[in-house]
């Protein structure tokens, strides 16, 4: 028995234990449903051999083409890899620019802070009527944009418009724009309210409070997240190579098909290098502008 004077636990230990147990049970059920067992991991015929040869080349990536037949005029392997890398980066940059615009624009409408009322005056007529509708619509819209993966968007756009560069850019930019909008709006809504209220008290309007009281405070986090999404965009752009775009994914796929595993590793290392490099560079930028 707890002493009667002490407040009731808002979340009793029993409840917490029950939630943990339920999560465990759910996980176990998922395993059982999928009939997962390590006994199934019997290699295909020659499978282990392929895996061995593939990972064996990790330490000796190819420096020149390993294909049996190299057509006239084919650029050297490293040149081809770097060219594909350049295309990968360009696609990622184009998609990211578009999704940043989408994310900032939709992120504004998807936040509650821009139509939050005054502590004394309450909400304006617009804040009571149109704003909640716009907010709700935007939340649904960005939810839809995010719920379809970029690969599925790519399938859709390729079916509709064919293998045009714009299809690839849209395929990445739409789900990324939705994700950025969601995260940006939440970062702004969760920014500390102290400065915002202080500006209100000095006569600033709701929109001014949004842009000068909340956004500056959220900006470092928004920037960090945008950098992370660019890294994701590089990977997505690479994957679109499997659909035939001239990104590094296509080089990887062709090398893999030809069982030229050394070449696969070459392309993988090139991609890895650019991601590590980008990570370092964005860290430097953030240190300069944000930290």
């Amino acid at each position: 028995m707890e002493p009667s004077a002490s407040p009731a636990r808002p979340f009793p230990l029993r409840t917490r234990g029950a939630v943990l147990l339920a999560l465990l049970v759910a996980g176990g059920w998922a395993f059982a449903y999928l009939d997962l067992s390590f006994g199934d991991l019997v290699p295909n015929e020659g499978g282990l051999d392929i895996a061995g040869r593939f990972f064996g080349r990790a330490f000796s990536p190819a420096l020149t083409s390993e294909a049996d037949f190299v057509p006239e005029g084919t650029p050297p392997l490293l040149v081809a890899s770097l060219a594909a890398l350049k295309t990968t980066i360009v696609y990622a940059a184009a998609a990211m620019s578009l999704s940043l615009l989408l994310g900032l624009f939709l992120g504004f409408f998807a936040s509650t802070a821009w139509w939050a009322g005054d502590p004394v005056g309450g909400r304006t007529l617009l804040g009571r009527t149109l704003a909640p509708a716009i907010y709700g619509f935007t939340r649904v819209l960005i939810g839809f944009m995010r719920s379809v993966h970029e690969v599925l968007w790519a399938v859709l756009f390729l079916a509709a418009f064919g293998l045009t560069p714009l299809s690839a850019v849209f395929a990445i930019a739409i789900p990324y724009g939705g994700t950025l909008a969601k995260i940006f709006s939440e970062m702004i809504d969760e920014a500390p309210r102290g400065p915002a209220l202080a500006l209100r008290g000095a006569g600033a309007s709701g929109i001014q409070v949004f842009f000068f009281g909340l956004v500056p405070r959220a900006l470092p986090d928004m920037m960090a997240y945008a950098f992370y999404r660019f890294e994701c965009a590089l990977r997505s752009s690479a994957v679109l190579g499997f659909f035939g775009y001239e990104t590094i994914g296509r080089e990887i796929e062709q090398a893999f098909d030809g069982t030229n595993y050394g070449e696969v590793w070459t392309h993988l290392y090139v991609l890895m290098a650019v991601i590590v490099l980008f990570d370092w560079w964005s860290g430097q930028l953030r240190k300069r502008f944000v930290a």
Partner: protein
Amino acid sequence: MIMPGTASGFRLEGVTVRFGELAALQDIDLAIAPGDAVALVGPSGAGKSTLLRLLNGMVRPSAGSVHVNGDVLAELSRAGLKRVRASIGFVHQDLSLIPNLRVIQNVLAGRLGRQGLLVSARSMLFPRRADAARAYEILERVGIPEKLYERTDSLSGGQQQRVALARALFQQPVALLADEPVSSVDPARARDTVELLTRVSREEGLTLVMSIHNLELARACFPRLVGLRQGRIVFDRSREEVGDDEFHALYDLEAAEMLADGA
């Protein structure tokens, strides 16, 4: 130079403020003449912050009326309320500056209430030479002109409080309100900061109302002291008339009651 404005007077008539069940202030009558300097003293939860927020139109009274410079706040339109707020500088306890912006941007933010969105965006992103010069002058007055382009969070607590004061002065206010402005400043700097606030207000002819924990400091710097306890005014006297008995009434009784409750 800062333009000396017409000092603002305040009057509360029978004001009660309730937050749900809790009565933060009860039946308050208080008049503060233009140019006066008043210290609000009393324990935590006495209603000092609520009273200050009434004066700049950030809290709505549940009953009674708040007069600021002749206007009754409840009768003002949205624009009118905005105008009154823009005319009153407020120095907060803490957390009121944007830490990752430059000092100049925090100071310029003081004028948002007098500007439209586009004008304010332009001046916040690309401060005009004239604005920068004025911000520099005001920072000079509060003693930290060299910090104009520093990041705000690189400053000490006391320096940040000076930035907050500079922002309030950049508003060209007619009155200055300060809510425990030295509670997060080390004691050695607290006196400097309070003296700075009172001196600047006097020089500019601003009405000054400040809530303050430190009774010594209140007596030393303010001619008039208003004591609050549990949402009511316990005394409202000149500093010569406030003796130790009055302070005991504010704090010790409270302590005695708490002891009684706990037993």
